[in-house]
Point group: C2
Chain length 148, copies 2
DNA sequence: ATCTCAACTGCAACCAGTTGCGACACGGGG
DNA sequence: CCCCGTGTCGCAACTGGTTGCAGTTGAGAT
């Protein structure tokens, strides 16, 4: 199991090359979409966009590539509290973990970075002697506008 | 790591009655299983056990009942970082939210309660003016034993 | 005890994600 | 430049979870 840690946005393909991951036609299409897309793509959208670059791309290749990127720590997988059905969403991993908040009424997704979150993770690592590889904090509730 | 229960253990049916939820043969079977089971049941196990109490229980009824209990805030749904496939796990909600840690090597699931987690949630509510209904923090990594 | 109707159920068809398999292509070595 | 092995691909079949529909049932009102 590989270690995570990313730094800059932008060059997924370069990362894969560095790590000796074979680059195929299909992966180029999928990575191209991930690099240029705005956040929170689901697998079906990703498939559709990738097929515009390479029509031969199959569902299973998309899922296999997502699993690969997850394992490399290059992307994060989100549920967004299952607000829009059962599926998952994907986003490029940034240098800092962030919390996702999903409004149960209007469906808006918000992000939040917190030092306290970092402190909490340190506490878990120390108190439980647990080496954290990946973490996911998702919150469902009502945003400022909808709780009025 | 046993945690203090809400009040009386095993009164899901009473909760449902209080809230005016209709009680059926099938729901009685499903709630019975949830009340007596140890934690982290998946839907398939729940279905099998419930069918021993009422053979007519269908998959879809199990899922519909789980959704109902989720919405009532009586149970929590967990991914456990998809360590054992794609499915979900369910547990009765206790008085205090807890963090789930899943070891990516041995598959062990650990739980942890933290004041810092409570502080983090307060921060989100204040700084983002977001009213929290449900929250889920899951961590994947290596437990003390496996990171040696 | 019976009536009534919204809520609930089983079924079957469907969406989301995974897997086994034989065919294929990337890219390093000759 | 071509060969070759291994990693990857598309396909089809499968598991986990959801949904529309038509028939049934629980429980409050009479």
């Amino acid at each position: 199991m590989p270690l995570p840690q990313t730094e800059m946005p932008g060059r997924l393909q370069a990362y894969c090359a560095e790590r000796g991951i074979r680059m195929t036609q299909q992966r180029r299409a999928i990575l191209g979409v991930m690099e240029t897309a705005s956040k929170h793509l689901d697998a079906a959208q990703l498939l559709r966009k990738a097929q515009k670059l390479d029509a031969s791309v199959d569902r299973s290749t998309v899922y296999r590539t997502l699993r690969l990127l997850k394992r490399q720590g290059l992307i994060d997988e989100l549920d967004l509290m299952h607000i829009h059905g059962e599926g998952h969403y994907y986003e490029r991993k940034l240098n800092r973990d962030h919390i996702h908040m999903a409004c149960l009424r209007c469906g808006k997704i918000m992000e939040f970075v917190s030092d306290i979150f970092e402190k909490l993770k340190s506490q878990v690592e120390k108190d439980c002697r647990f080496r954290i590889v990946v973490s996911r904090l998702e919150i469902g509730g009502y945003c400022a506008h909808c709780s009025k």
